[in-house]
């Protein structure tokens, strides 16, 4: 019973995902031209003004370190915290030193 419900829900999820991916009434794929200027003006702004405002010729690095710098700061915090947690979980405990 549980396996049947699981399989049916999985098929439902896959069908919904494929329906979302259809370009006619789902995700528009490859927006270009007027659509790009209308919906993706931030991308176009970064492509046009990235070199003058930040200076790097790699636009992705400009976005990562300047326009979206707070995201990178949070990412660095997450990296530090998780590495500290992993090292703290795996180190030698004090009462087990005698082993």
């Amino acid at each position: 019973m549980r396996r049947t419900v699981g399989a049916l829900s999985l098929l439902f999820i896959l069908g919904m995902l494929l329906l979302i991916a259809h370009p006619n009434y789902g995700l528009k794929f490859g927006l270009g031209g007027e659509d790009w200027q209308k919906y993706r003006y931030t991308d176009q702004y970064y492509i046009d003004h990235g070199i003058e405002e930040v200076g790097g010729t790699n636009i992705v690095t400009d976005i990562v370190f300047d326009y979206r710098g707070y995201d990178t700061l949070g990412e660095a915090t997450v990296l530090f915290t998780s590495i500290a947690g992993a090292v703290a979980l795996l180190r030698k405990w004090r009462e087990e030193n005698g082993e």
């Binding site: 259809h22 636009i59 990562v64 990412e75 590495i83």
Partner: protein, 120 residues
């Protein structure tokens, strides 16, 4: 016609959810987590593509190609945010591996059902 990269991304997410539901090994659950992660990354990167009346877009890098100004380029924002997401995926992987190693040391097994039964 559904674009092929969307089908691939959704298939990866589907396989990850399947493994989450039906697999019982902790290592396989971590692999399923990373598979879902990779599928979402592929989906987001594909959304940044751009098709402008037959002209193929280029990567958003101007080094050595300063004459490219004005030609269509793929969207850089999904790439930057997926880069952040990849780092967080690595963090989750390392922390989950540490927890799995501790669980195996404590219980002597990796089976989820036995882990639930052996409490304390």
């Amino acid at each position: 016609m559904i674009p092929l990269q969307f089908v691939t991304a959704f298939l990866m997410i589907f396989m990850g959810i399947y493994a989450f539901l039906y697999k019982r090994n902790l290592i396989k659950l971590i692999l399923a987590l990373n598979l879902i992660d990779a599928g979402i990354h592929l989906l987001l990167i594909s959304l940044g593509y751009r098709l402008e009346n037959g002209v193929l877009p280029t990567a958003p890098i101007y080094t050595g190609y300063e004459t490219l100004k004005g030609t269509p380029m793929v969207g850089p924002i999904p790439q930057a945010l997926v880069l952040t997401s990849i780092v967080i995926g690595v963090c989750v992987l390392s922390l989950a591996m540490a927890l799995t190693i501790n669980a195996y040391r404590h219980y002597g097994t990796l089976d989820v059902n036995k882990l639930r039964r052996l409490r304390g």
